[in-house]
């Protein structure tokens, strides 16, 4: 008898009010996903790869004056692939190197990529990174490489995968071997939450299955769905929502008790 695979819909909730900009997620992702060492020249060339990055925006406290001391504050926002349901990167790829799977993931098949870079042009979130150079590690550092993750050669596009290798492992060990449903608890116990989520000290990153009614992401989404809750406590929104990319990363707004001017923006 063929068994139905349980349905999943992977979702990340990012609470900007918690994120401290500490960069733990950035290094954790680097360590988990065999991302090449970003050397100084990569930064100077603007080719550094950070599947998750912390963007820092300066903002004027009083928007009518320039953002300069003392009228300035800074805000952090972690940006990774938004795993769009309606991903603009997908239809443009001529070889299906990037496609959508039935768990809501935008999957990147490195072996297929021919290096057109079209998808990176068309990703509104700028989270696709191209291997302009052959990745090199000193021999000894290769010992650290994660065998679950393909090492990308040059000419290949890469990006945050929601740590798909951990999800596969979860499917195999939790669902396959133990016949249990993947839950927040079981993924946490097995260290199978995405690497950035596991590291994030402040708990700004929350990951889970929207198909699991008891998951924390579901709770958060319900609590913060702006269409359902009326109060300002409903902080959920998706970045560049008006592009109708339908991201699977939901952000919870920063709270600012001193906000000078509340922007009315849908």
């Amino acid at each position: 008898m063929v068994q139905e695979r349980p349905k999943h819909k992977w979702t990340m909730v990012v609470d900007i009010d918690r994120c401290s900009g500490c960069q733990a997620c950035v290094v954790a992702c680097q360590a988990e996903n065999n991302i090449t060492i970003n050397e100084q020249r990569d930064f100077l060339q603007r080719r550094a790869k950070e599947w998750i990055r912390i963007e820092r925006y300066w903002e004027a406290i009083d928007p009518s004056k320039p953002a300069e001391f003392p009228n300035v504050k800074a805000r952090f926002i972690p940006i990774m692939c938004q795993q769009c349901d309606n991903a603009p990167c997908e239809p443009v790829c001529p070889v299906y190197a990037t496609y959508h799977n039935n768990e809501g993931l935008n999957v990147q098949v490195y072996n297929r990529c021919v290096g057109t870079r079209y998808c990176a042009n068309n990703c509104p979130y700028q989270v696709r990174f191209f291997n302009f150079w052959e990745p090199v590690w000193p021999e000894s550092l290769r010992n650290q490489l994660n065998p679950d993750v393909t090492v990308r050669s040059r000419g290949i596009m890469e990006k945050c995968t929601f740590c798909v290798q951990r999800l596969s492992r979860a499917r195999r060990t939790i669902e396959g071997r133990r016949g249990k449903r993947i839950t927040d608890e079981s993924m946490t116990e097995e260290n199978l939450m995405p690497a950035c989520v596991m590291a994030c000290p402040t708990g700004a990153l929350v990951f889970g299955d929207r198909e699991d009614p008891k998951s924390r992401v579901n709770e958060l989404l319900k609590e913060h769905d702006p269409r359902q809750a009326k109060s300002v406590a409903a902080r959920g929104y998706r970045v560049l929502e008006d592009l109708t990319t339908e991201p699977n990363v939901v952000y919870l707004k920063k709270v600012d008790p001193h906000l000078k001017k509340v922007k009315a923006h849908a």
Binding site: E55, V92, R117
Partner: protein, 458 residues
């Protein structure tokens, strides 16, 4: 408007086959020079294949740069051949005769050169097997037909095949002429290529029909090719400035403008290099100049519309992009050069008959137009990428690397080299057309004046 000197068939053959039968020394010198630059370009590309696309100036967020700009440019140039041959042929425009062949050849070589660009751009062309060719049916790996990058090679290949056919069909009678004037191995090769052309009335009729038919078939292809190339950009919903609905016709007309200008350049060169004053005459430049005024103005209309459409929406992103393109250094300088060279200098000049009939002036103006049109593509493609959305955090800049500059320079030499070598093998002005023109020439009296005229082709 036929200001020709009546020439005999022998004179025509002699003049037009001069290069084919016995090329002068400068010819080989020029070939060598161009070949050196092409070799430098090939070396640069090879260096890139070996070291990685990192040697290019492209970076995040501008993942496309000079090579893609150059791709669009050469696709644009390739529109000249068909524009002139097919439209003018279908319209029985008598003055087309001397430049159709050159224009068609320009089409084929610029198309081939254009297609090199994405191949080089990807950095690992050997991987393109499963981009262009679906090879792994068993495991369900197909090309993604939703991607404009699948439409694009399909359209360009089709265009290349049909234009090559077009040239071959029109070449047959000329090949036969060369066949009859050569000996030995060359004779054998030309014999094979002539496909048994004997110049029988039936063969002439079939050749004529084939020409007209291919013209008719090629026209929609020609429109589609640059439309599809425009969709390489138009389909990218996330890049500001790339998705105006007017892109397809705008790109087509822009292609025609740069292509026809390139033909003018070519005409002048042929006239000077091969001393074909009898065949490529001032009247032809005059006619091209008139045509260009119309094309350029139509193009300008589309350009203005595209720009306006961007601003119509009043979306901050679109407005910011236009601001970047027009007011911010260095785009402002490029923009001014572009708009002046592509329209505001050439068109007023072309309005003067004396300019249109001045071969040197026409030559330099046509080159200027193409500088402008190259910049046009650059200004469309790159700034949009630099500011493609409100993530100011990752806004960047783009500066071409020497590798890109060398490759781009080499493509110009490659096209020139191709045409030059072609001229060594086949006549660049169709013998048959030239002779037909002589036969059909006539003079009619209008009032007191006698003006040249042609008899209608059938």
């Amino acid at each position: 408007m036929q200001e020709r000197r009546p020439l005999s068939d022998v004179q025509i053959n002699k003049a037009l086959l001069r290069n084919v039968l016995a090329a002068p020394l400068w010819f080989w010198g020029l070939v060598l020079l161009l070949a050196l630059v092409v070799a430098a370009g090939a070396g640069a590309a090879g260096w890139m294949f070996n070291r990685g696309t990192g040697v290019l100036g492209v970076n995040r967020p501008a993942m496309w740069g000079f090579l893609i700009v150059n791709f669009v440019f050469w696709i644009g140039i390739s529109h000249a051949g068909v524009m002139l041959s097919a439209i003018l042929r279908l319209a029985y425009a008598e003055w087309r005769r001397p430049m159709v062949r050159a224009a068609e050849v320009l089409t084929v070589f610029s198309l081939m050169t254009a297609m090199l660009m994405p191949f080089i751009h990807s950095g690992r062309p050997w991987r393109l097997a499963y981009w262009a060719f679906p090879y792994d049916f068993a495991r369900g790996i197909f090309p993604n037909i939703r991607s404009a990058l699948i439409w694009d090679p399909s359209a360009v290949f089709t265009y290349l095949i049909s234009s090559s056919l077009f040239i071959l069909v029109t070449l047959l009678p000329d090949i036969a002429v060369i066949r009859d004037r050569t000996t030995g191995i060359r004779h054998k090769i030309y014999s094979a290529m002539a496909l048994g052309w004997r110049g029988t009335p039936r063969q002439w009729r079939l050749q004529g029909i084939a020409g007209i038919l291919l013209s008719a078939i090629i026209l929609p292809i020609f429109v589609s090719v640059h439309s599809i190339v425009s969709w390489d950009f138009g389909m990218a919903v996330s890049v500001e400035g790339w998705h105006a609905t007017i892109f397809a016709p705008y790109f087509v007309i822009g292609a025609v403008l740069s292509g026809v200008s390139a033909v003018v350049t070519l005409m002048a060169l042929m006239r000077w290099l091969f001393k074909w004053e009898d065949h490529i005459r001032e009247e032809h430049f005059d006619a091209m100049g008139r045509l260009l005024v119309v094309i350029a103005t139509a193009w300008f209309y589309f350009f203005a519309m595209e720009f306006m459409f961007g601003l119509f929406t009043l979306e901050p992103q679109e407005v910011a992009l236009r601001q970047l393109q027009v007011f911010e250094w260095p785009w402002s300088a490029l923009f001014i050069i572009f708009i002046l060279t592509a329209y505001f200098i050439p068109v007023p000049l072309w309005l003067f008959r004396s300019v249109r009939r001045n071969v040197a002036a026409m030559f330099w103006i046509s080159i200027m137009v193409n500088i402008g049109m190259w910049l046009e593509r650059f200004i469309i493609i790159v700034p949009g990428l630099l500011r493609k959305q409100p993530f100011t955090f990752v806004w960047g800049s783009y500066r071409p690397s020497p590798i890109e500059i060398i490759i781009v320079a080499a493509t110009f030499c490659l096209v020139a080299l191709g045409i030059l070598l072609f001229s060594k093998v086949f006549p660049l002005v169709p013998l048959a057309e030239a002779k037909e023109g002589q036969i059909l020439a006539d003079q009619i009296k209008v009032g007191k004046k006698t003006i040249p005229a042609v008899m209608r082709e059938e």
